[in-house]
């Protein structure tokens, strides 16, 4: 049985950009290697200007590496056929404003060679997936930021790619829109689609990704399974519900008797502001007017 090639294989990628005024070229990506296996959700995190987008563009053949190689499912990124298996959502995408959501998906579908009823069915399916069926005949020019991101995600998925590359998929989107995009990423993961996303919103990356790479000033500084990277090995967390103060006191006494264990913190866990926002807006939405 043949072993399937990695969805993404970036080997020792270096990318220099010529600058007009300085003799020294600007090194945007410095010896970065990434390997993403099929079905993984990989998050590349780093501050602005750290080389995340350049890495993605090199993987898509939009920029040529100064040295190193990029491949998608074993196919060289500089070759057009590598793009059959990949869908891309760029950062802050603007689609053709004169087209409606439906026409946009049809255009991208036709570019991928899909025609007729196959295209029609796929467009309907994707509009439902990204919850834009009602807005499908509206011009893109009138779409909100969240809707643009969702139609962008739909166009990325039009030819059923096995790999989806998302550059800052939730940048500038409100918490509800952001949650919807995250839910879509979860759906992709369930369908076995490999996702390569980059973001500087760390909480989101933590929520959806199983593998993470941290890039800083063009260099990969840390990479691995998210669980392994963030686990604090010498600590244990217990979260209790409806525990009376007596039980808490007993547990604390037990810990105090142990020579090695130490209680670091106890108290009520706090919800995140985001969860609070989502809960309250949902409550308002469901309340009768």
């Amino acid at each position: 049985m043949s072993v399937s090639p990695p969805a993404v294989e970036i080997r020792h990628l270096v990318k220099d950009f010529k600058t007009s005024f300085r003799r020294q070229p600007l090194r945007a990506v410095d010896d970065v290697s990434i390997r993403i296996m099929p079905g993984e959700v990989y998050g590349l995190i780093g501050p602005n200007g750290s080389g995340k987008s350049t890495t993605m563009k090199a993987l898509l053949g939009l920029v040529a590496p100064t040295s190193g190689q990029c491949a998608i499912f074993g196919k060289d990124s500089l070759k057009v056929d590598s793009r059959n298996e990949v869908g891309f959502l760029p950062e802050n995408p603007y689609f053709y404003k004169h087209l409606s959501g439906k026409e946009t998906l049809e255009f991208y579908g036709k570019l991928c060679g899909i025609r007729g009823s196959t295209l029609k069915d796929r467009v309907t399916e994707l509009l439902e997936l990204v919850d834009l069926t009602d807005a499908s005949h509206r011009r893109i020019g009138g779409y909100s930021k969240g809707m643009l991101q969702r139609i962008g995600l739909a166009q990325a998925l039009i030819q059923r790619p096995r790999l989806v590359i998302l550059d800052e998929p939730t940048a500038g989107v409100d918490p509800i829109g952001s949650r919807e995009i995250r839910d879509l990423i979860f759906k992709l993961r369930e369908q076995g689609i490999t996702v390569f996303l980059c973001s500087h919103l760390l909480e989101q990356v933590q929520e959806v990704c199983d593998h993470v790479g941290i890039i800083f000033r063009g260099k990969m500084v840390k990479e691995g399974r998210l669980e392994d990277l963030i686990a604090i090995e010498d600590q244990t967390e217990l979260i209790l519900k409806d525990a009376d103060p007596g039980l808490i006191a007993e547990i604390e006494a037990l810990i105090a008797r142990d020579a090695k264990a130490e209680l670091i913190r106890s108290g009520k866990p706090r919800t995140t502001l985001e969860r609070l926002f989502l809960r309250e807006t949902k409550r308002q939405e469901t309340q009768p007017k």
Binding site: V86, C112, G113
Partner: protein, 309 residues
């Protein structure tokens, strides 16, 4: 999850180019470019009332109006087709880069040559449709006006008791000023010239940094193209006396290759005067047009293929 069946067979380049071309055409149409047709109609109506001072005898009355209609119409067609070709081509590429829509297109299995060819064809389709509409308007009005002139002249000749053969000759002369096949050839020449200038604008926009730069340079080359032949002739006559002319020949060859000679399209003026446009000449202009389009597209592709976004 299996890829859709259509993906298995990578679509033909032609199909993909057609998708991009129709999209570019729709984009330009939705930018409301066809509003200029209203201006064209106004020009056409105005040309009907534009009477030049009468130098010829009464037997030629009305013929100058027919010439004016053709002259104004073909002039307006030239202006609109050149402006549309340059501005549309100069606009499409930088807009895609600026809006990042180009990323999403090139991230699909779309070769860069297909993208360029599609955009150019979209502009040419727009120019072709515009010219066809303007042509229909011009031919319609010219047809009506020619019949009016013919009727007047025949009445005039009959009243004077002209012999039949002279009346026939007069009729032929008047019809030659009307909507002839040569006039359609002239419109096609206007389209061919627009084709060359659009592909030139495409080449400039692959390395230019702004729409404005592309537009200015393309217009400059368009105007230079009208003097290119004269400059070349003057240069050759100077060089001939000094050397064996190899240098002169190579320089003129390079100039002719890069800068099209738009004087070749001056045949349009002869058609306005009522002369017949030989089919061979139209064939020659078509070949020249094709040569420059292919040359400029290949040059654009060589630059665009290495471009990074």
């Amino acid at each position: 999850m299996n890829p859709l069946p259509a993906i298995a067979a990578i679509p033909e380049h032609a199909a993909r180019i057609a998708v991009i071309a129709f999209h570019a055409f729709t984009q330009l149409v939705r930018m409301k470019v066809f509003y200029f047709l209203a201006f064209f109609a106004l020009i056409l109506i105005a040309s009907n009332f534009f009477n030049l001072p009468q130098h010829e005898g009464p037997e030629a009355a009305g013929v100058d109006v027919l010439r004016a209609i053709k002259s104004w119409s073909l002039g307006a067609m030239t202006l609109f087709s050149v402006v549309l070709s340059i501005v549309s081509t100069a606009l499409l590429l930088p807009k895609d880069v600026e809006d990042r829509t180009l990323y999403t297109i090139l991230a699909k299995p779309v070769p860069r040559l297909d993208y360029l060819a599609g955009k150019l064809l979209g502009v040419l389709l727009l120019v072709f449709v515009s010219l066809a509409m303007m042509d229909a308007l011009m031919t319609g009005i010219l047809h009506i006006r020619t019949n009016m002139v013919l009727a007047d002249q025949m009445t005039f000749a009959e009243a004077r008791g002209w012999p039949a053969e002279e009346m026939e000759a007069l009729k032929t002369d008047i019809l030659a000023q009307g909507p002839t096949a040569s006039l359609q050839g002239a419109v096609l020449s206007v389209f061919l010239r627009a084709t060359i200038i659009a592909s030139l604008a495409l080449l400039i926009s692959t390395f230019s940094t702004s729409t404005l730069f592309t537009t200015i340079i393309a217009f400059l080359i368009y105007f230079i193209g009208h003097f290119q032949a004269d400059a070349r002739a003057a240069f050759l006559s100077q060089e001939a006396g000094m050397s064996d002319g190899i240098l002169a020949k190579s320089v003129t060859l390079v100039v002719a290759l890069v800068l099209p000679d738009f004087q070749l399209f001056n045949v349009i003026d002869a058609v306005i005067e009522g002369q017949v446009m030989p089919l061979v000449l139209l064939g020659k202009l078509t070949l020249i047009g094709l040569f420059y389009v292919v040359f400029y597209i290949i040059a654009s592709w060589l630059i665009f293929a290495k471009k990074e976004f």
